[in-house]
Amino acid sequence: MADTIKLTIDGKEVEVPKGTTVLQAADRMGLDVPRYCYHDGLTIAGNCRICLVDIEKMPKLVTSCTTQAAEGMVVRTSGAKVEDGRKAVMEFLLANHPLDCPICDQAGECRLQQYSFEHGRGGTRFAEEKIKGFKAQSIGPHIELDTERCIVCTRCVRFCDEVTKTGELGVFQRGAYSYIDVFPGTELGNAYSGNTVDICPVGALTLKEFRFRKRVWELKDVPSTCGACARGCNVNLGTADEQIWRMTPRQNMDVNKWWMCDEGRLSYQPTHERPRLREALARWDGPPMAMSYPKALDFLAGRIAAAGPGGVGVIASGSLTLEDFYMLRRFASEAAKGARVVVPENRRGEDDAILIRADKNANSAGAALMGMPVDAGGHAHEALLRDSVAGKVDVLLVLGDDLVSEGRVAQLAPARGRLFICKIGAFESPLTAAAGLALPAPAYGEFEGTWVNFQGRAQWVRRGITPRHAAPETWRLLAELMVRAGIAAHFASAAEVLSEAGQRVEALHGLTARALGTQGVELATAGAGKP
């Protein structure tokens, strides 16, 4: 009991842990106290002064973000006195603010607009000339700065000081001429720079990759999971017109808190920008020949059936979904008995102390759960490719993109007479041209399913847009192949696949898509899956 405090906010009593600020206590109650500078993930600055509240026995209004809750405190977050204080702060903030809302990317999700609506005066008494600032300054590879719009809340400065600890940003000059900028000779180039845009409460920091592309009120946020590394940051896919326009982090205190890295933030881009595999293409000696998807599957099923014992090799991306891996597991044990399955390692750089994992597979842990652990060191991968060149493999199934290097593709070419390569992937690649059959697959944002992150946390990946070129998910393709081999494998959705997997694979403990929700669940025994 001694560790909690009871106070009254807007007539309701609330109990909070010692050390909680009044603003945080109000947040717990679901009250909407306005704020610019305050952010749960940053130290408290107390500079914007919009979160003023009225506390009994205190002569002046106080900022709720800087005031610790105390036993018996009686707080009012509204009322004439509070509104007057907020009105004054709003008027100050808007005094020099430019009137470029119509072309501002923040419009629609701007706290200046929001609080003007809620707490503003409606008119202005500011009759002076507005102070001009810098507009459209590039301060980093992804970030553009508009100091006129800036309200110097220092969220971005604190982010770079406290979260990335890179300290690129500072406040320059003084008073009304204060502005945020990068220190001379530096740029805002840390691996998490995009977060400054998310936390900027106004339109001062904008993302080059999103700037002027879409009005935010036209976007629908689809809660999903990032696949750029084994962290699996929770994200929102900002979608409209069957296109992903941006990715933003979605709070999950167990995974990514409020943040995501820039690489992940832009990981939707290939879906739209990289040349895609558009249709099933079969290739003998001449130019590729388009085939209907069912026909291509018949053709592939025939090749697999004709392969000798152990004659099927599978290279599967570690970013396939748990459902894909489950079906692959069934496929390898029921349809293509004795198939050699390799999940190549995909590591780059180092784990950092923030979010980024060196393991760039989104689902290494999921692959391991399905009995197909990542091929650490690449020996099995190497051996399979070597055997493929040597003619010991009849059918090589490549599930995913960029799994076979360009050099390897060249080595595989001479074996083409007797080695049948089928590539199933979203994108054009050197392997596509070498493959006897290339089948389109959905790219990121177009499929749904489950990824298990490096912590052993299963998280649902939601589809944001309809797959291009009617490409089926890999699990569906494998199921089709099984059906063609006379095995019952009928599933309507990834969720159905997961339900079956949850029942049949012990490590999943009856997992279902519904149970994953939007925050995922930690698989109790997933420890074995950790890389």
């Binding site: 408290i44 209004l61 004054a88 500011f126 500072g170 008073g175 009304a176």
Partner: protein, 432 residues
Amino acid sequence: MGALTEKVLLRHTSHDDQTDLDAALERGAYQVLGKALKMQPDALVEEVKKSGLRGRGGAGFPTGLKWTFMPKETSKPKYLVVNADESEPGTFKDRLLMERDPHLCLEGFLISAFAMKASVIFIYIRGEFVHPWRMLDEAITQARAKGYIGKNVLGSGWDVDVILHRGAGAYICGEETALMESLEGKRGYPRLKPPFPASYGVYGNPTTINNVETLAIVPFIVERGADWFLGIGKEKNAGPKLFCMSGHLKRPGVYEAELGIPLMTLINDQCGGMLNPARKLKAVIPGGSSAAVMTAAECADLPMDFDTLAAKGSMLGSAGVMVMDESVCMVRACERVLKFYAHESCGQCTPCRIGADWIYRIVSRVEHGGGTTADLDTLVSVCDGMVGKTICVFADAAALPAKSFVAKFRNEFLDHISMKGCPTKGIPAGAR
């Protein structure tokens, strides 16, 4: 209440060689330090507390009480910070002390640091104070050589170091927590309080921060006792005080007098009266530019002490007394004061960042002929939006004098508005 029977702080400032340690020693420098080092530190704190000494930097907070806020048992080093960032417009008393009697200053710093068992004294000196800095720097070198600073000071077993740090020209760095940020090499933004410096000061360690004049008087309190100090001035406003007299005076300068001396005594007796006796007194800013302006009528019988001035809606502040005769345009004076605050607002809190600039620009517009009567209401309302809504008191320091100018000299503002400009424009000061 009035003039002192003897000079105290200014006792030796007229000697040109007082900055030299040998000369200062001949005049008794560091003798009280030797005495103090033989006393119990707590007894020193008690004596200062008993004297009722109030901080000379501006706020007038009881110094001895402040010292007791320092934690007794702590594993952390304790610091004394000397606020020598004297930047309040109209204030130049610490400068004189540091320039003319740096060893007295140092003796006060050392005794006070010993009283609080501080191991380091940081002196944060205004960057523009090149000469005082040189004097102090040299004095520190001399005192170190004599063993007043360093390990085992005068065989007392107490170690102390003195670090003299120059500011870079920001008024806000005179605010105690902005000063600490600046001292740590950061941007001079005032800190959120709590935590207060006594528990979390420089580098997060317990810190007490005092003004130069406050600490310079400490050797006298230790030497002569709290009762001597209490015998000067008046109740709760005891002791000798330096007054920085500037403006339309025959002899402007730093004067030492009892707290509570009538303002007109200071003007007429100490400073020799108005510069031009033919001109009447118009207004006085009694405590640096952050203090509300007083009209001539209000000055007529005005004791210069903390409580009286506070009761009259102004403040003694840093005792920077700026005297203005009837040739002064009060709108212009107000504009000049507000220009300073617009320039010096650190920009951390919204109301001050924008408000300080806004009120300056309104008054400037009125001064230069573009004002309307509605501007005066806006000005007052903007001031009200600033006062009490920021981390430090800078916003109040800008808004309260602005309000006082408009309230007390409203007719001059209205004249500017109706005449579309300053009535004194183009008229040489001598001909007004």
